[in-house]
Symmetry: C3
Subunit: 160 residues, 3 copies
């Protein structure tokens, strides 16, 4: 947290629509202000960076497919509360559109444009049988804890 | 994190009773020890600072009312787990009273007394159609990411 | 965050299997790299450090037992999503075994071996009527906010 290089690193664990909106709003806002921003997607958060959002799941094996089928892509992430059988996120997206606030897809586009560093968690990928080509091309690296610590050193870290 | 001015800034996203107790316990404890404490309420966390706790909701529009009706005020926030149809938070409040631990309302009163800075998130307010007069008077400012980053700079940040 | 002594302090609030795996993976990874690591278990997180994992609960009083019965020990913690009536965590443990990734018990053993400092939150213990002898012997101290702040000062803090 020295005055010179401001850095924010987010461990994006959640797959909830509302938390992801918060995480990406904070990330893009920080990047727009000149922060170096790293997002490290792990577990449910990996949904955000799937190459093909939606029902198909790239992982291998029965169990990975089972998790994948149920977790969907970034267009299927539920609200953390009041999901209303899937209408909750659509409702909130509708409200966001109506009020001219960026939606999840807009926020991800902004993150790419702002050159936010997007990383995928090695361990969750191993558990779920995914690999790098399952993600959008902006995700260039798969990291473990050691590399994440190194990259985020000297800045602030948030677990969302 | 320089030795001189200790600062803690909490992004209070959650509307769960137990997480809010944690957030406010940490905030008030830090303030009592001389930390500058900022709490930035966003999404479900906005329930804590509603002017009139309870079932009425100040937002405008059908959808905002729908979210508001279901989310209630700070006397209606659920536990993150084991909600037992609403008895969970009451049970925990009962346990807290019995053991002389501060309840959610006590903690909010302490936060005010300790001059903790309470802020509301601009974006969630836009989405939900709320404005500043919907909140308790101690919330004096509505912030976006830029202002939050500026205020929290040089201290620690937590997402709860 | 001075260059010399790297420190990471985790407030482990969650009792969800997947979040606990994340928290302990980050903690053990950091400790292995020479970080001083503190984990402060609070509320549902206390499940991880219970002396006897499983259905029995050491707290006193009807309500504490009620919470305890339902929350189980570290072998009974649910997934944050897709719990499938309890098969979710077992499924993920199976996947982790199959891929040679450390499970929750392995991670806790690693945390002990790496001399990670394990602390229990005073307030949650008071609410739930637990005391120090209810926890594994590696938990040597019960802390309030003041002591936690002191111990974690100068490093990074995460709320999980």
């Amino acid at each position: 947290m020295s005055g010179t290089a401001k850095k924010l690193s987010i461990i994006c664990f959640s797959g909830d629509f509302d938390k992801l909106v918060s995480a990406l709003t904070l990330a893009t806002g920080s990047a727009a202000l000149g922060y170096e921003v790293n997002i490290f997607f792990t577990f449910w958060g990996l949904n955000v960076i799937k190459r093909k959002a939606g029902r198909t799941f790239p992982g291998k094996g029965f169990f990975a497919r089972m998790f994948g089928f149920l977790s969907g892509g970034r267009n299927n992430v539920p609200l953390s509360r009041l999901n209303f059988m899937g209408t909750g996120p659509r409702l909130m997206t509708f409200l966001m559109r109506k009020r001219n606030v960026a939606t999840l897809n807009d926020l991800l586009d902004a993150a790419k444009a702002l050159k936010i560093n997007l990383y995928a968690c090695e361990m969750s990928m191993i558990i779920l049988g995914m690999d790098l080509k399952d993600f959008i091309p902006e995700v260039r690296e798969v990291l473990g804890v050691a590399k994440f610590l190194e990259l985020s050193e000297g800045g602030d870290r948030l677990f969302i």
